[in-house]
Every structure is written in C-alpha cells, then in structure tokens.
C-alpha cells in the first residue's frame, strides 16, 4: 500500500495552499462573507486559473483529474482556509452532472465552467425531502417540443450567482420513487423562476427557488427521461467526499489554532495547555483527526468502486466526520473560552463550516442509518 499523493496531486496541493495562504486571509474572507454576493469573483478566477476547477474533472471531460483523490486534495485545502466560494455546487454537483449526462452541446458548458466563466447550481432538495434524494415532487410535463416545470426547491446553494440551474423534476411515478426523475439545464433568467435569496450561517448564499410553469425545450433535458437518479446519487457521493475532505481541512485548522492557543494563553500563571483537563482533550482531538483522515482517504479511494462499496464508505465517512467534526468544533471553542465566540476570530468561522457541513447531503444520523441499511442489503 502507498498512502503518498502522486506528484501531480502534491503539486496541486502545494500551489493551492500557497495561493490561499497569500490571498485568503481571515480579514479578506470576512469581507467576502459580508458582501452582497457572498463570494469573490477575483478569488474564483484566480483559483480557476490555478486549475482548481479543472482538477475536479476527468481528461475526457476536459479536465485533468476528477478522481476521488483529486477531489479530496482540493477540498481539504479549501476547508483548511475556510473558503466559502461555491466550488462544490458549481463544479462537483452542477458541472459534474452536465459532464456525466450531457450531450455534445451541453458538454460545451463544462469547458466554460472549468475556465471560471460559468457558474451553476444544483436545484434538487425540496422543503419536505430532507436528505432523501428520491423525494422529488416537482413535476416536468412534456408539452410538444417543450417541457414545463413546476415546484419548489429548497436551500439551493449558489442559486443567485448561477447562470444556469440544474433542476430535478419528476416525469413519472411518485415522491420516493427512484424512477421517473429527470434533470434539466435551465438558464437562470428563464421566465417563471423566482429566487428568494439569503445568506448562509457558515458563509455563501442560497435561495428558495420557485418554478412556476417554467418552460424549456426538451433539449434541455440532461440524459434520458426519468433516469437521472443513479447519476444524482453518484454526484452526491462525490459531493460527500468533497464535504468530508473540506471538513477534515477545517478540523486541521481548528486543532492547530487550539493547540497554539493552549500553549500561549496563560491563566493562573501558566499556559492553559498545562492543565490536564485540557491537555487530554487536545490529545483526543488529535486521535479523532487521524480517524477522520483515514475515513476520508478510504471514501475518496472508493468513489470509483462499485455501488455498495462506494456508498458504504461514503456513509461511513460522513457519519464519522459528523461526529469527530462536532467534537473538534465544540471542544475547540470551549478550550478557547470567550474569544472563540467572536465573529472576527478565525476559529468562529471554521467551527461554523465544520458544523454546518453536517447539514448538506445527509447528517451524522442519516448516514448512520444508511450504513446500517447498506450492510443489511
């Protein structure tokens, strides 16, 4: 076995880390957080030029990576710096679905996206779907050469910045069925789309998306009618590898900040790290960090594996990162005392990233249940 990164990935990691260290300090990021758009175009373009988006696509798709380990390397660094820009939504989810299912015309968007010129969002979740990917109630009705979309999509991250939405809707069957779900590539300015946008607690923005007789040509469909579910599941698996890796990176920052603080903050005449009550907890955090790293490595390495192995490792990682992440975020705040509760201190943002990652594509509990179900299947 070999746990080392390939030379290319090592280079990507180094350059990305350097870029973010120079260009994405706490003050810069906090300004981005407060901005109306919730992200920085300069950072986006800079990272696109660096090849960050390209690394998330395979060579066939116009990129130079696209494997689980490429995703893990990129997102661990994004997480380490607490980046709020919507790489997950544009590249892994939206862009990934276009690349996986799109015809030749549609594929052209991937190239634009890799260059940084195009932003997309994945409009899939609904107010009552929670984390179940098959609970789609939005409808798609064929009307001659057109398709008419109706429904409501919940907490669509990056919807306001997106040039196009990748919308899931049901052409047949009922909520809960895997069959019957299709995906459509819908320009964001199409008539009948209403966005109600808001900032997210951990940075970035999302919107409630209402689809009211949104009419698109049938050629806007991605892939075969009613057969999108497996592709959605595979992309969400990739997204979960990304989220887990990002959380791991954020956990590394949290533990680094905490370790440094324990060694410098003095109370009762000595560094607080000399109090065993804190020293042992710090040790536990470091143990959990190693566990988290292993879970991410295994999940990333199984992203290209067959269904059951892939999903089992994804759910295992999401559950473990959810638990270890909560421990690291909460204990890091606690061991800092009041200072960690302030908005402008780095840890506050990092802790929010860690905790809120649990709310995307299945939390600790959801993936525990999924793990059990997969094992029984």
């Amino acid at each position: 076995m070999n746990f080392d990164l390939t030379e290319e990935r090592q280079m990507l990691q180094d350059s990305l880390r350097r870029f973010l260290r120079d260009k994405y300090d706490t003050a810069t990021r906090n300004k981005i957080l407060e901005s109306d758009t919730g992200f920085s175009g300069d950072i986006w373009n800079g990272l696109a030029e660096l090849g960050v988006i390209g690394a998330l696509f395979t060579e066939d798709q116009g990129g130079f990576g696209g494997a689980g380990f490429d995703i893990a390397v990129v997102f661990e660094e994004l997480g380490r710096a607490g980046v709020v820009e919507p790489f997950l939504d544009t590249a892994i989810l939206g862009g990934g679905l276009i690349a996986d299912l799109g015809n030749e015309d549609q594929q052209a968007h991937v190239e634009e996206l890799i260059g940084g010129a195009l932003q997309v969002a994945f409009a899939h979740g609904e107010p009552t779907s929670r984390y179940d990917l098959n609970q789609v109630t939005s409808t798609a009705k064929v009307d001659g050469d057109n398709v008419v979309l109706n429904g409501r999509k919940a907490v669509v991250v990056n919807a306001e910045n997106a040039d196009m939405l990748i919308v899931s809707a049901r052409e047949s069957g009922e909520a809960g069925d895997e069959n019957g779900i299709s995906l459509f590539l819908v320009p964001a300015d199409t008539k009948g789309i209403t966005l109600q946008g808001y900032a997210l607690l951990a940075g970035g923005r999302a919107a409630e998306v209402t689809l009211d007789d949104v009419t698109v040509p049938a050629s806007a469909r991605l892939g075969e009618a009613g057969k999108a579910f497996k592709a959605i599941e595979a992309r969400v698996a990739a997204a979960n590898v990304a989220i887990c890796a990002e959380t791991l990176g954020a956990m590394e920052t949290a533990t680094r900040l905490t370790r440094e603080y324990l060694m410098t903050r003095k109370q009762f005449g000595k560094p607080i790290g000399t109090f065993q009550a804190l020293a042992h907890r710090m040790s536990d955090l470091l143990i959990e960090m190693e566990q988290a790293r292993s879970a991410v490595i295994v999940a990333a390495g199984n992203l290209e594996a067959e269904y059951k192995a892939r999903e089992t490792h994804i759910s295992a990682a999401k559950n473990l990162l959810g638990r270890a992440g909560r421990l690291v975020a909460e204990d890091s705040i606690q061991m800092h005392g009041g200072i960690a509760m302030t908005q402008e201190y780095e840890l506050a943002h990092i802790a929010k990233r860690i905790i809120m990652a649990d709310h995307r594509f299945g939390d600790t509990d959801h993936h525990l249940e999924r793990f059990i179900a997969l094992a029984a299947a």
Binding site: R130, G176, Q196, Q267, Q334, M341, K352, I355, L368, E369
Partner: protein, 401 residues
C-alpha cells in the same frame, strides 16, 4: 418524602399560569418562540409588568420589596414562564447585584439602588472579566485609586465580555485597590455610572452575528466613594457570593423544557423517508434520552434549591447544576439544529428580522443553528465547566485536585 406538589403549590401554579395568560403580551411571546431578540424596550416592558404584580424580584426578601418565594415556587414560575415563552428576567441587577447589596451593602445603598432596580430606572451590567483575567478572575488589573481628599476613586483599565453593556447605565465592577498584597486581597467591589466621562463601550459581535457583549474601557473615571460596596479590599468575598447566585440561575431547566418542546415541534413537521422525523426511531431515541436526563435534572434542581432554601448556602451543588444544566441545554440545541435539516443553514438574523424574507421554511426553524452556536457560551461563562468540575473535585477530594 412527598414527590407530588401540595395543594398550595398547585394553586400557585394556576395563579402563575393565569397571570401569564392575561399579562404576557402575545407579540412578546411570539418573538421569544421564534428566537428573536426582544430589545431593551421589550425587556423593560416585561420587567414593569412583573413589577406591577410584585413578582419582579422573586428571590428578594419581602422587606426589600421582593416576592420572597421559596425554591419550589421559583421552580414552578420558571417552568410556567418558559412554557409560555415569557422573556427571561435580565439577571445582572435583580438577581446578581441585589443579593450582594442586601448582604454587604450599606443602608443608604439599599435604600437608593433597590427601589430603582424594581422601578426599572437602572440597567445594570457585570464588569468582572478582563482580557487577561477570565477563569483566573483574581488576576484582574483594572485599577481604582482613591484621590487625596478621599472623595473619589479614579478608575483606569478595561473590562470585556460585558453582556448587554450597550443598554446599561450602571456597571458593577471588580477593581484593584491594593497591588502590594495577595491578588485576592486587593480587590474592591465598585458601582460605576456608565455616563461618567472616560467610560467607553465598544461592541463585540458574536459568531452568530448578534451584538450581545461589549468591551468597556475606563480612563480616569471618577467614581464617588459612596459607590464602594462593603469594605475596601474585601470585594473578592462579595464577588464569590455573587457567583454562586449567578450559577444557580444557569441550570435553566425551564429553558431546556421549552427547547425540547421546540425540537419535537420541528421534528413532527420535518419529513424523513416520507414520514415525520419524530417517528424515526433513531432520532426519537436521541430525543428520549435527553428528555430522561432533563427529568432527572429537574428533580436534582429542586432537591438542591430546596436544600439551599432551608439555609445551606449553595456551594458545590450549584457547580453540579451548572455543568449538567448546560450540557443538557446544549444537547437540546444540537438536536434542534439537526431536526431542521438543510433549513438550519440560513443565516438567522436575516431570517429572524424577516424584513426582506418570509421565513424560508414553514417551521420557523430558522434560528436553531444560530442558537446552537450562541449557546456554546453556556459552558464558558459564569465560571467555565472546567472550572466548575475543578471546584467539585477540590470540594470532594481536597486541595490535590
């Protein structure tokens, strides 16, 4: 032992409930239920309503204008108030400073400050912590020097984490009056008018976007010598007395009960696998476990406060209540955020203010994640949970802990 409430206690509960139904303004309870901030005006309005009823100071003796409720009555009130989504009483003046004044203050101080407290004429905040003096409170540096005439102290230094200091006109402070003796022996307890020249309040924004705490700076602030409580250099004793009062309030059984109700409300509306989340055995088990803990906690709380009411000063028990009470509350906050699923993600203050946005979800679950983050403070302030555990260990095993 009798575990059921007596007839008088039941009658008292009915009285409290009727009062809340009649006098608690609906727009106020709506705000609390949704996790919105009440603001200074709302808080003062609620204090006035309670004062008109004679219930603003439940823990004060009758001779000072308090309700002089026993522990069980206070517990019943807390439960009913939380269940009705009544605002919490701002504790700094009424339940923290007042007991100190009543025990250690002069006649003049009691005659002057206590009626003003009831009438809502002063808003007090607590100036204990400093940047370098958190858990190690006794290392505080803010200095007070008596002028040559002996009429005024001149105060210089900085306090921090001052909760709601932006609303306050008065701050009670621990200040250093003797640098030559052991740390604890050179501290005094001073009442400072925040409108005095040289006092500056600077906001600190917390991680959930709220402005709840402040820095308070003092440069050459003149404080009349009459504002010294008790004796010079004996402030540490008063400070510790105050802290045990602060801690008993932190158990927060009523808040936990209200929080649990909210978790269930969200989980009944939120769907998972086509069924309400509350029917999901895994989630239901988590809720049940914390509910069991809370039921025992509620009784622990009653046992400890009734013992204290019988005369014993709450010591190590108040530390136990603080640790367990905060763990339970934080666990409930965690469950609430999980219950809300993806709808926990919106930034609360935007969702709360609702100015440009009808809440994105049908459940008013918007602020749950913000509350989860904000309530990380529960295990940090009022003496952190590590410090409380240290106190418990020291008390039960002696100095070696």
């Amino acid at each position: 032992m009798d575990l059921s409430y007596s007839d008088e206690e039941k009658a008292f509960r009915a009285e409290v409930r009727a009062f809340l139904e009649e006098k608690l303004p609906k727009e106020m309870s709506d705000k609390i239920r949704k996790g919105e901030e009440l603001g200074k005006d709302g808080q003062e309005q609620w204090h006035a309503i309670l004062n008109a009823q004679g219930w603003l100071a439940p823990n004060w003796p009758k001779k000072f204008g308090g309700a002089e409720w026993n522990a069980v009555q206070r517990h019943i009130f807390e439960e009913e108030a939380a269940a009705a989504y009544a605002p919490r009483i701002v504790p700094f003046g009424l339940s923290m400073l007042a007991p100190v004044l009543q025990k250690f203050g002069s006649q003049e101080q009691n005659d002057y400050w206590l009626p003003r407290l009831l009438a809502g004429e002063d808003w007090w905040c607590q100036g204990y912590s400093e940047p370098g003096a958190g858990s190690d409170l006794a290392s505080l540096k803010t200095e007070a020097v008596l002028n040559d005439e002996g009429t005024h102290y001149i105060v210089n230094g900085q306090k921090t984490w001052t909760t709601l200091g932006q609303h306050a006109n008065m701050i009670f402070c621990l200040v250093r009056t003797d640098k030559t003796v052991k740390q604890q022996e050179g501290i005094s307890f001073l009442l400072i008018d925040m409108e005095t020249p040289g006092v500056e309040v600077r906001p600190i924004i917390l991680l959930d976007g709220t402005h709840e705490v402040n820095e308070v700076w003092f440069s050459d602030v003149k404080v009349p010598v009459e504002n010294l409580v008790g004796k010079e250099n004996e402030g540490w004793t008063y400070a510790k007395y105050l802290l045990t009062h602060e801690r008993t309030n932190i158990a927060g059984v009523g808040f936990s009960q209200a929080g649990l109700t909210a978790v269930k409300r969200i989980a009944r509306a939120e769907m998972s696998g086509g069924k309400p989340l509350m029917q999901n055995p895994h989630f239901a088990a988590r809720v049940a476990q914390v509910e069991i803990d809370l039921m025992a906690m509620s009784t622990t709380n009653l046992r400890i406060v009734s013992k204290a009411a019988a005369g014993a000063a709450p010591g190590v028990e108040s530390s136990m209540l603080k640790v367990k009470g905060t763990i339970i509350r934080q666990e409930i906050n965690d469950l609430a955020r999980r219950a809300a699923g993806a709808y926990a993600m919106p930034f609360a203050s935007e969702a709360i203010e609702g100015s440009n946005l009808a809440l994105p979800d049908p459940l008013n679950a918007g602020p749950v994640a913000a509350q989860y983050f904000n309530n990380r403070k529960l295990s940090i302030f009022g003496g952190s949970n590590e410090i409380q555990r240290q106190i418990i260990a020291k008390t039960t095993m002696g100095g070696g802990a």
